[in-house]
Every structure is written in C-alpha cells, then in structure tokens.
Amino acid sequence: MNLTSMGIPALNDHLGGGVLKGSTVLVVGGPGSGAEFFAKQFASTGQEPVTYFTSTERDEDVMSIMREHGWRTDINIVNIGTKYYENVLAKKLEISKFRQEGITLQDIRRIKDKDAGKEENFLTFLAYEISKITPPFRVVINSLDFFLENYDSSEVLMAMRTIKAHTQHSESVTLMTMLKGVHESRIQSSIEDLADVIFELDREKIGQEFKKYIVVQKVRNRPGLVGILPCTFDQTGIRTC
C-alpha cells in the first residue's frame, strides 16, 4: 500500500506501516500534551521535502529541538508568527503609542512610505505557500489555533479544505495541530470531519505520575485501527510502550 511514515515507529506499526499518502492528519491535545513535539517528530521523517509552518515558535526553537533529537534539519520553516509580529503586532504596539502619546507631523509623514504594504491575510498566505510547493510534500501547520483566532471559522475551513484537496491530489501528507476544547464544538467537529486521520494526545494522573496516550481517534475507512496506545516521551522522541 501507498503509505508514508508518521515518524513514530510503534505508531506506524499500529497503522500497518503509516498513513495513506494524500492524508490530512490532525493532532489534537490540551496545552502541554506534546502536540507540537509530535509535529516535529512527524517532520523528521519521510522521503518528501518538509515545509514547517509555525505561528508560535521562533525558527531557532524548532531547529534546536530537531538537533537535540538528532532529527533531520533540512526542513523549510515558514514563520507565520514572525510575520504576524512584524505586520500586525508591531503595528498595534505603535498604534497604542500614538493613541497614548499623540501624533506629530513627522509621524504622519513617515507613514506615507511605510503603509505601502497592505495588511496581509495569513490564511491566504498559507494556502498560497502550500500551493507553490512541488509535490509530493510533507507539510506541518503548527497550529490551526492561530488561524481560528484571527479569521472567521468559515474562512479557515475553506482554506483547510483547499489544502486538504491539494494534499490528496498530490499524494502528499499534511499534519495540523489544534488545541482541544478551546474552539466552538461546531468548528472542532468540522475540522475533525475534514481530517483523514486524527490523533489525540491524552494523559491521566496516576499517583505521582502522568500516564500518556496516543489516542487514534479516526483513520478514514479503517475504523478497526482506532485505539489507545500508551506512550512515553524521551530523548528519541515519542515511543509507545
């Protein structure tokens, strides 16, 4: 079968070798569940060129995790977080300064050259960047939460459908992360419906320790594969035990 690796050997075994090429994979979990780490381990594997979109980390943070675990570092990081900071947050900071301290002629004049750049739609940017990659590709979107916070959910869904279709037709693989329990249930359900494979990272407190699990929530057309895999996180990454 035409499968591609998830990066976690025991998870691949459970899935019969990996996920089908063309799959869109969703990883959900609460804060601290390790979804971002999961995404990096996913990025460390496979034959395809990797593009890693991040909205939360600096490039060097991603790279240092990859190096620390001996994973591939030839990945292309597209930092939406940095772009967002430069385009939007820095401007917001400046606006609050002007609102607080007042505005001078020089401030008004200066903007003429500066405001040439229109405010960017990062959702459009994401879809466009993915459309430019030569398939088959391995894409990570960490995380959907950024887009759901900043854009209408219908717009986000539309973009995700586009990305999913592109992934499917080009026999590539896309993984996206999403926080559990913070978005409207209708939105969460729609995203879950769109995903071909869903992993949930869960944990329970037993005595003094957390027991951690990869919950295989959904594998499209393979309902028999859903299940709960106990796992641990160590120097080699996520391992099932």
Partner: protein
C-alpha cells in the same frame, strides 16, 4: 441702515477681496466656518486661497485632506500667481492626509467609536498645537462624517473639534459637500447647526451660462451681507462681484 458691528472682534482676513468686504474685514478669529456647496462650486479653491493668503501673511496654515491625495491637490494650486513654493518648504503651509492619521491611530473600522472621536479631535488639536496653526481647512468634513454615521456622533465631533480649535486660537474652514439642489447646508444636517458660520457656494444657471455663486448665510461675531455674489476662479484667485438682479432671466 444699522451701523455694522465691526470693531468688536479681531478678524482673520481671508485675503479674498470680495469676501472680506462681505464680512466687514474677514472671518472673526477662532471661528469655525462651514463652507458648503455641491461639487464643482469652487469650495476647495476658495479654502486653499484662504490658507495661502494666511501663509503669505506669516500665519501658519494647515490643510487636512480627507478625500483627495494632497500631492494631487498641490498640483492644482501651483498655477496660482500668488502661490509661492517656499511656503511649503518653510512649513508656513502644511498639507496632511487624514487617512494617514487614521492609519497611524488604527482607525480602520468603517465606524468610529465615541472614544475614537475624542482621539481624533485630540490628534487634530495636538497637530494644530505642534504647528502653531492659525488657519485650518478640513476638506471635507462630510467625508469624516461618513465614518461617524449617527447624528449624535457627528454633533459630538463637530462640537468638540470647533471648541478645541477655537481654544487654540485657530480660525477654521470645514468644507462640506451637499447634493445639488439640496436645501440643507450639510449632508447630515447636523454640522450646520453647530458651526459659527456658514458660507454657501452654488451653481446658478443663467442665460445658458453656469455661474458659481457665494453667499454668507451666517457668521457669528460680525455683520455681513447676505447677498448672493458671483464668483470667478482666476489665476489671480477668487473674484467676487454682486449678482446683478437686473435683466435676470431666472433659472
């Protein structure tokens, strides 16, 4: 005839001969005047001339452009014979685009909140203070009002703005657009009630000719003629002559 009251208020001479005659010497200083009219009646030209004369007379003058790019506007005034480019260099005559201020202050929404109105008034005031502006034109106030939407907000804005400008000893012309054949002096009907003065510019068709006319409807602090004058835009500036009633074929 009553003796005109002319001596009690200091005047801001517009520099436009006919208009200063109508106003017995000029606009009383610190007044906020609405200059209203439909398109093509010469509002912007008259307002610009008011500023250029001020700047030539060593009064700092500020033009806040809302609808048109100020660079484009500048290209239109250069032909004036009395215009001197050095006025721009020396900062006697300053052009500012209000959209740039909106952008700086993050006023990107279609409708401004009450808090943002205060902020806008404060920002314009601080600019007037910084530049020590004595003459101000906002072209047009109607475009600002489109961002305010409700009569309450417009009233609030115009009141606060004219109070602030008056406190800063600045004589101001707020350009207002009305539809042709409208009976009101402003599109929203609110601005006119608050202003210290109203000057109305219109088109008048007479004997197949489209004349521009000017009429001072109201001006606090002075006597003034309420007669309609014919206005001519020439390279030496605005020329005003009384509209002769005799021989008129009507409209």
């Amino acid at each position: 005839m009553m003796e005109p009251r002319t001596g009690d208020r200091v005047r801001c001479a517009t520099g436009i001969d006919g208009l200063d005659t109508i106003l017995y010497g000029g606009i009383p200083t610190d007044n906020t005047v609405i200059l209203t009219g439909s398109c093509g009646t010469g509002k912007t030209s008259l307002a610009l001339e008011f500023l250029i004369h001020g700047a030539l007379n060593n009064e700092n003058s500020l033009f806040i452009s809302v609808t048109e790019n100020s660079e484009k506007l500048l290209a239109n005034i250069i032909p004036y014979r009395f215009f001197d480019k050095d006025l721009l260099k020396s900062g006697k005559l300053v052009f500012v685009d209000l959209p740039a201020m909106y952008d700086r202050l993050g006023m990107t929404k279609a409708e401004l909140s009450m808090e943002e109105i205060d902020l806008l008034v404060a920002s314009i005031s601080s600019l007037v203070r910084e530049l020590n502006t004595k003459r101000l034109v906002i072209d047009s106030i109607t475009s600002v009002c489109y961002k305010l939407k409700t009569p309450e907000k417009i009233r609030d804005f115009v009141l606060k703005l004219s109070k602030a400008l008056s406190d800063l000893r600045c004589t101001s012309i707020l350009v207002s657009e009305v539809a042709p054949h409208s009976n009101a002096y402003s599109l929203f009907g609110v601005e006119e009630a608050i202003a210290d003065g109203i000057m109305l510019m219109s088109n008048l068709e007479r004997r197949g000719d489209l004349l521009r006319t000017l009429q001072v409807i109201k001006m606090r602090g002075t006597m003034h003629s309420r007669a309609k004058y014919v206005l001519d835009l020439t390279p030496v500036g605005v020329l005003l002559v009384p509209l002769l009633k005799g021989g008129s074929a009507g409209t």
